[in-house]
């Protein structure tokens, strides 16, 4: 049942809730979703990492899971900065916004962002992970 090889080499998780980080990472590990899972509880730190590694594509995550409501920098604020990154990086990374919010405005806003692939309401399920190819 377990695939020896993970689906993605590098995955980035951004969520201020460390329990959620733990759950997501565990799910990913369990279902071989990602080889390396970078966990950030601060969107600002995650952004700094991406800015630093703009020219080092080996460090670029293929998948980013981004929470919306976070102290300091929110998910939407992160996406505004993310848009300024190099287009190659943006092409490379698939950003999913993951939130416990069921607010229509949040969902709409997330889905309307050109750099966001999809919005997913918490909690994450293996079905969702399996849907990402």
């Amino acid at each position: 049942m377990l695939d020896p090889k993970s689906k993605f080499e590098r995955v980035m998780l951004i969520d201020d809730n460390t329990i959620d980080l733990y759950i997501t990472a565990r799910l990913m590990t369990k279902y071989n979703f990602g080889e390396e899972i970078d966990q950030y509880s601060s969107a600002k730190k995650a952004l700094e990492f991406l800015q630093e590694k703009q020219n080092d594509f080996t460090k670029w995550p293929q998948i980013i899971f981004l929470d919306i409501y976070m102290p300091g920098m929110s998910g939407f604020e992160f996406m505004a900065e993310y848009n300024n990154l190099s287009s190659q990086l943006k092409k490379f990374c698939k950003v999913y916004m993951i939130s416990s919010s069921i607010d229509e405005n949040d969902i709409k806003r997330a889905k309307n962002d050109v750099n966001v692939v999809d919005f997913q309401v918490k909690s994450l399920t293996k079905e969702f992970l399996n849907s990402i190819i």
């Binding site: 959620d20 759950i23 565990r26 416990s100 069921i102 607010d103 918490k122 909690s123």
Partner: protein, 945 residues
């Protein structure tokens, strides 16, 4: 001896003259005087005078009569004639007829002596002596002849000259002797054609008279009048007496006269021409005030023909009011006081009045008043017009409610000011002084510059409500004055500017009062604007003309001033929930009917879609003519009060219900009490206890009422913070959901990793609980969102939407074996808020699934929808467990659950109702226990999108 003298003389002067001469010669006499011939005979008879003296002038007509009387009756009474002048022939004839003597008046001194002689002669007539008589006669002749101015020649008939008098010598420039020598033929011009006729006549009648040409000794000739009489002397010789009157001077005079007459006529003619050429009236009036003569100007001026004027009384042509003055003037002129420049009015033939200027003079010789007159009608009219114009101007100038003045020259010297001007600047004697001399305070106020500019350019200066400072109290303190000014250049006849007209009106009071009004209006506006109550006003057409902050807050929008009408709410509803059109709004009614509209509260919808309960109070403005010019509306927001009221009513009815329940129980207890009373005392005691318990319950009831009241108060407070609560609920829900998802995640991991059956069972229970909690939180969020967010309208595919919802709900475990029937008619595109529509349908269908009968064949849920142009009818029918009648009213209440066993949170139907109201719809429930439930929903079709 006394001599009686009878004097026949009519002229008193001559009589006195005679008497004087008689007295002077010392005559002893008595006398009587007869003036008329008729008395003569009687006088002679009665008086028997010694001598009669008679004036020769009386003899001319009646001489023969006197002589006849004397000759017939008293031939012995001598008669002496006294004459101024007498012809020789007459003398001779008179003396022949018995006159005693003739005395010329120039020889009156000889009167006494002549009377004496005559009386002597008469008394000595007893012996008349022919010779003596002849002698006497001769001496008389001689004296007459010698005294005559005419040439008198005595000749033999057709023979030599016997005698020539002195006058003859002078006329012919010859001596007596030369007459005798040359004879009479040399005297006459024999070529004169009249000569023969004269001689012929004399030979025929003895007397002839004619004009002949005579020759003088020196050869010159002259025209003379010749009288030739043939008589016989005492010896019987035929003699001729010739009298020649030198007519040279007479002829000359006659010629002169003729010439003079011609000249006179000429003069008169030219005078007439001049008179007729005169523009002035010239006329004469006689003693009877009749017009005698007029010139042509009289005709043209009065319009009357000559015959209509001449011979008429001039008074008839005078204006009635002037007749008396004219009469007095006339008298005055006749007394010798000529008048000049006398004004009078004359009536023209056509009835109009003509003004003339008269001068008149009385001529004593002609007994006429000569008048000249000038027609001054035009002049008088002009004068009158000028006078009227001048008075008008003066009135205008002095009574004008404006300061007026004329400034002359480049230094603006006052030349003319009206009284208001002086009053306004409060100065005297300004004429001749410059503006700066009179008002030095003007120097710094730019007025002089303005005047200079008008004076130099001619462009008038006009200013309204210009502020000037004037030392009008003459104490150096400047008074602020607002003036309307006009400075206008005054031009000479050649167009050059020589001064400035100043017109000024003091408008200080108007300006100050206007400023006051503006200030008070500003204050009033500020007051209204800051008023914590919504207030706005509309004009007569209903256009909003003003609104305050509170109004904008209440409306949640700011209407456009002058464009939007009647009200700032997006919608008004009556008690039945029907929309009130704008033209029936309280503001419109007040404007239309001109009355105060107040006391009826209503439901309104703000721009945001939120509903409020308001109490309008509209007061129309009505002007003095009774016309509505606008209205002001004070709108009180009574939403909180209304909500409190509704809550109160709800609580009241709940309490009433509880009361009823308790009463019932009490009644049951009472019955039980009675039954027990029959059993035993213990039971009586218990009954008593129960009564006490009952009382206790009543007391508790009171307590509950008190608490209800407290709850009402809390309710009001709660409502006040409703908004905050909404936000609070929203963020709490989020914060609740976030750990819930974490728990869900963890539970999933446990579920995945554990194979312990009891653990899995527990995990399943945890999951159910969490799902219920999550469901509840989601619903709270939906409810909160419904209140928070505006409608997002779009056309939705009704059937597809319903099918999607049913599809998602069929995963519910209770949905198994339920038959769904969908019947949708989309007669018109249906426009609504999609999410809210989903909420309604999803909740109702999931309820229908949840509360269906657990075990039954033929379970069904029917969904019928008909979308019309205006609305959509939606019906959700099931044959489930139904709702007990007593709960029918309560199912839409928040957190109401029929049984504690049910899974629901008690918020689903509340959200449905709340959302339907938001979508301007209605919901009705028909249900029968164990038979099923039908929800009938009407939703508005927004159709605008």
């Amino acid at each position: 001896m006394m001599t009686k003298i009878l004097i026949l003389e009519s002229a008193t002067n001559d009589l006195n003259f005679i008497c004087f001469e008689l007295d002077r010669s010392g005559f002893n006499y008595t006398t009587i005087n007869i003036k008329l011939i008729d008395e003569f005979e009687n006088a002679v008879h009665n008086y028997n005078p010694d001598i009669i003296l008679s004036g020769y002038s009386l003899m001319n007509d009646n001489g023969q009569e006197v002589l006849k009387i004397c000759d017939r009756c008293y031939p012995l009474i001598p008669l002496i004639l006294i004459a101024d002048h007498i012809e020789i022939e007459n003398c001779v004839a008179l003396i022949k007829n018995g006159v005693s003597d003739i005395i010329l008046k120039q020889n009156i001194a000889s009167l006494g002596q002549k009377i004496s002689t005559t009386l002597k002669t008469t008394r000595a007539d007893t012996l008349p002596n022919q010779c003596e008589e002849n002698l006497n006669d001769k001496s008389i002749y001689r004296s007459l002849i010698e005294n005559s101015e005419d040439a008198i020649l005595l000749t033999e008939k057709d023979g030599k000259i016997l005698e020539a008098n002195n006058s003859a010598c002078q006329i012919f420039k010859m001596t007596e002797e030369e007459f005798y020598i040359f004879g009479r033929f040399s005297l006459v011009d024999h070529n004169d054609p009249s000569l023969l006729a004269l001689i012929e006549e004399r030979n025929l009648t003895g007397v002839a008279k004619d004009e002949l040409t005579f020759n003088r000794k020196d050869g010159s000739s002259f025209t003379g009048e010749i009288t030739s009489v043939v008589f016989k002397d005492i010896w019987g010789h035929e003699m001729t007496s010739i009298k020649i009157k030198d007519l040279t001077q007479y002829k000359k005079a006659e010629k002169q006269l003729a010439k003079t007459a011609a000249e006179l006529q000429e003069t008169v003619n030219s005078l007439n021409k001049i008179m007729n050429a005169s523009m002035d009236l010239i006329f004469s009036v006689d003693a009877d005030k009749k017009i005698v003569q007029i010139n042509s100007a009289c005709n043209s001026t009065t319009g009357y023909e000559t015959q209509e004027l001449v011979g008429k009384s001039y008074i008839d042509f005078i204006h009635n009011e002037d007749k008396e003055i004219i009469f007095n003037a006339d008298q005055n002129v006749r007394n010798g006081n000529p008048i000049k420049t006398f004004e009078a009015r004359v009536i023209h033939k056509n009835g109009t009045t003509i003004y003339i200027l008269l001068s008149a003079q009385w001529d004593e010789d002609d007994k006429l008043i000569y008048c000249t007159a000038k027609d001054i009608t035009e002049k008088t009219k002009l004068e009158k017009a000028y006078k009227v114009e001048r008075e008008r101007f003066l009135d205008l100038y002095n009574l004008a409610p404006a300061c007026m003045g004329l400034l002359k020259g480049p230094n603006h010297i006052h030349e003319l000011t009206n009284s208001l001007y002086l009053k306004f600047i409060n100065k005297k004697d300004v004429i001749g002084k410059s503006i700066l001399e009179v008002m030095p305070e003007m120097e710094d106020q730019g007025i002089i510059g303005l005047l200079d500019s008008v004076y130099n350019t001619g462009v008038p200066f006009i200013a309204n409500e210009m502020l000037i400072q004037l030392d009008s109290n003459n104490n150096g303190l400047l008074v602020q004055t607002y003036m309307n000014f006009i400075y206008q250049a005054h031009r000479k006849s050649d167009g050059k500017i020589d001064g400035i007209f100043v017109f000024a009106i003091d408008v200080t009071e108007q300006v100050l009062s206007r400023i006051k009004i503006e200030e008070s209006e500003k204050m009033y506006r500020q007051l209204i604007s800051e008023l914590p109550v919504a207030a706005y006003s509309c004009d007569a057409d209903g256009k909003i003309s003003f609104f305050n902050k509170a109004a904008a807050i209440l409306w949640d929008t700011e209407p456009k001033i002058g464009e939007d009408s009647f009200c700032g709410f997006s919608k008004m509803l009556d008690e039945d929930g029907q929309t009130i059109p704008l033209h029936l709004s309280p503001m419109a009614i007040s404007l239309n009917e001109g009355r105060i509209v107040s006391g009826r509260s209503g439901t309104v919808e703000r721009a945001s879609g939120e509903r409020r309960y308001v109490l309008p109070h509209v007061v129309p403005y009505i002007d003095s003519s009774g016309k509505v010019t606008g209205a002001v509306n004070v709108v009180t927001d009574i939403t909180e009060i209304k909500v409190a009221q509704i809550a109160l009513e709800l609580r009241n009815s709940e309490l009433a219900f509880q009361n009823q329940e308790k009463e019932k129980r009490a009644a049951e207890l009472s019955i039980a009490n009675k039954e027990l009373a029959y059993q035993n005392k213990e039971k009586e005691n218990r009954a008593n206890e129960l009564v006490i318990a009952n009382q206790e319950l009543a007391f508790q009831n009171d307590e509950k009422e008190k608490r209800a009241k407290e709850l009402i108060l809390i309710n009001i407070e709660l409502h006040k913070s409703n908004k905050e609560l909404d936000r609070f609920v929203y963020s709490i829900s989020h914060d609740l959901r976030s750990p819930l998802t974490s728990v869900q995640g963890l539970v999933s991991i446990i579920e995945e990793e554990s194979e312990e059956p009891s653990t899995l069972k527990h995990v399943e229970m945890i999951k159910n609980s969490i799902n219920r909690l999550d469901e509840f939180v989601k619903k709270i969020l939906i409810y909160s969102r419904n209140d928070r967010t505006d409608l997002e309208l779009e056309i939705i595919p009704v059937k597809k939407t319903i099918l999607n919802i049913i599809a998602s709900l069929q995963n519910m475990k209770q949905a198994k074996d339920i038959h769904f029937e969908i019947e949708v008619q989309e007669l018109s595109p249906f426009c609504t808020d999609k999410l809210r529509f989903n909420t309604i349908v999803e909740n109702l269908i999931s309820n229908a699934i949840k509360y269906h009968k657990p075990r039954s064949s033929d379970r069904f849920i029917k969904v019928k929808a008909v979308a019309h142009k205006e609305m959509m009818q939606l019906e959700i029918v099931d044959n489930g467990i139904g709702i007990p009648l007593m709960y029918k009213e309560k199912i839409f209440d928040m957190f109401f659950r029929i049984s504690s066993k049910s899974e629901g949170s008690g918020i689903g139907l509340y959200i449905v109702k709340d959302t339907i109201e938001k979508l301007e719809g209605s919901i009705k429930v028909i249900s029968q226990k164990q038979a099923g439930t039908t929800f009938e929903i009407n939703l508005k079709n927004y159709k605008k999108c």
